[in-house]
């Protein structure tokens, strides 16, 4: 059954083109089999907390990593991060922040808020796929996930 299959990546990204590029990069390097993509912060929390649109989901089935864009509609990425970190069932999931903003304050917040990693989305597609590949390789294959 589909519900048995563990979700590798929850991708929280509002830009459909960025989402497509990200998913393709993971596909290209066969790093992840099951990617769930949500396009705003509220849906991300709905998914993670198995509520609203996703109320049928098993909350114990957690994605292996969360890729989180910061500039999201409805709820800002950092807010989502805070919620994840303060929810017992979710707080151990590695969160990687994927954004264009090099702003220092974001950086600090990102690390303070408990993000595991903070990566800038490069414009150059090759660099982008390299970043994704390194990410995926580390977090999905190398790293001991809880």
């Amino acid at each position: 059954m589909e519900s048995d299959k563990r979700v590798d990546i929850l991708l929280v990204e509002d830009n459909p083109d960025d989402a497509e590029l990200t998913i393709r990069a993971f596909d290209k390097y066969k790093l992840a089999n099951n990617i769930v993509h949500v396009s705003d912060g509220e849906l991300a929390l709905d998914y993670l907390l198995a509520r609203g649109k996703y109320s049928g989901r098993d909350i114990e089935s957690r994605p292996r990593i969360i890729l989180l864009d910061l500039q999201l509609p409805k709820i800002h990425g950092l807010e989502i991060l805070r919620t994840i970190r303060s929810t017992p069932q979710l707080k151990l999931i590695p969160v990687i922040i994927l954004t264009t903003s090099k702003e220092e304050s974001d950086l600090i917040h990102g690390y303070d808020g408990g993000a595991n990693s903070y990566i800038v989305k490069p414009v150059d597609f090759e660099k982008f796929t390299n970043v994704v590949r390194e990410l995926g390789f580390y977090w999905l294959l190398l790293n001991e996930l809880p």
């Binding site: 083109d17 264009t100 150059d124 090759e126």
Partner: protein, 392 residues
């Protein structure tokens, strides 16, 4: 007999004349200075005023100053309280006073006066109190106005500074939001054109792939441009940090960051010992990477590439040099070199959005330093920047 009487008479009249002259002089000087003299005789309770005192009070010569109560009544209530206390203290204890008070003249106008009083003692007893009173309205009002202006100026400066800081913050945020919003479509342009070239590679001819490459190259250029604009905006709006920077290590690190690994063996890189200095290390790294990156660009394709980094120290500054033996530029264009977006070479030969040197200049100037460049056949091209020496 008569001549002696005459002599005495002329002596007396001379003395009289002199005395009159002195009186006139005194009175005139009192008038000019708006200062009047007064005296209180404890024995007779009489008060004597010089003419200027009458004028200050705005009363005519018919006014009798003998009543202390009346005289004091002219003062504004708070002032009257003060002068009464001071005067009584003088009379009882011999303490002098010097006060600036408000007086309401007979015509109703309020003026500022400065009044001083001192006692005269004879045989250990206080016999008289005398002093002066001076109209200081002009000076006092100017003083008060100045203080008021200063205070309101300070408030205005604080308000403007706060506004400026807020505007700067917003600009920084604005620049970032713009960069963010501009970069997203660029990622799509670069990404999708490359995706097409990759995924449809078997069915695309070389020309098609070339054109797709042009698309993504231009996206990359635009990306650099946007990054530079954001960097330059940030430099103007953030407070530079201050830490000791190991310049030699920094230059070396930036060299390795900037130069593609494949090119490193082709370049003879000479890094001389250069002094440490104080400043913002994040910004200074940008200075090095921009200057080194230029040196790399402009020696590209040469059979024998040299990049040298050295420094000179004077009493007041540390000057760092980046020299390359490359293409160089027309010395006539030096002034334009560090301007935003100026470029001196044909686009196809040398990449770069032209903002690198502008960033260098902005950062160096923010640190109180200067930038410059020289170009000669013998030495090649030298870019330098100077930083003021911190006082030891």
């Amino acid at each position: 007999m008569n001549s002696m009487k005459n002599e005495k008479q002329s002596e007396t009249s001379l003395l009289l004349e002199k005395s009159e002259r002195m009186n006139r002089l005194l009175e005139e000087s009192q008038t000019i200075a708006h200062i009047g003299g007064w005296e209180y005789d404890l024995a007779t309770n009489n008060i004597t005023w010089t003419p200027e005192v009458y004028r200050i009070y705005g009363v005519g010569p018919e006014y009798n100053p003998n009543s202390l109560q009346n005289d004091i009544a002219f003062y504004a209530p708070a002032s009257a309280f003060l002068i009464e206390a001071a005067f009584n203290r003088a009379v009882k204890e011999g303490v002098s006073y010097d006060l600036e008070l408000q007086l309401i003249r007979a015509d109703g106008n309020t003026i500022w006066v400065r009044t001083m009083g001192r006692v005269i003692t004879e045989d250990g007893k206080i016999t008289r109190v005398h002093g002066n009173i001076m109209d200081v309205t002009e000076r006092k009002t100017a003083q008060l106005e100045l203080a008021r202006l200063n205070e309101s100026l300070e408030i205005r400066v604080r308000e403007r500074t706060a506004k400026l800081e807020a505007a700067n913050k917003e600009l920084e945020g604005f620049a970032f939001r713009i960069a963010h919003d501009l970069k997203a479509p660029l990622r799509a342009i670069s990404g999708f054109s490359k995706m097409v070239a990759e995924d449809y590679s078997p069915v695309l001819d070389e020309e098609c792939k070339r054109r797709l490459a042009v698309v993504s190259e231009n996206a990359a250029k635009l990306d650099t441009l946007i990054s530079n604009i954001v960097t330059i905006t940030r430099i103007g709006t953030t407070e530079p940090g201050s830490s000791v920077m190991a310049m030699r290590e920094m230059a070396l690190a930036m060299y390795h960051e900037v130069v593609p690994a494949a090119e490193i063996p082709d370049i003879k890189f000479m890094l001389c010992p250069i002094p440490d200095c104080t400043g913002d290390s994040t910004m200074m790294r940008k200075v090095w990477s921009n200057l080194i990156s230029n040196a790399v660009k402009f020696t590209a394709g040469m059979p024998d590439r040299v990049i040298e980094i050295y420094a000179e120290t004077t009493d007041s500054e540390l000057r760092y040099f980046v020299r390359d033996n490359g293409v160089g530029f027309d010395p006539a264009h030096i002034s334009k070199l560090f301007n935003l977006f100026s470029r001196l070479h044909r686009d196809c030969d040398y990449q770069g959005a032209g903002a690198g040197l502008a960033i260098v200049r902005r950062i160096v100037e923010l640190h109180g330093g200067q930038v410059g460049a020289e170009c000669s056949k013998a030495r090649g091209t030298v870019f330098w920047f100077s930083l003021p020496r911190s006082p030891e």
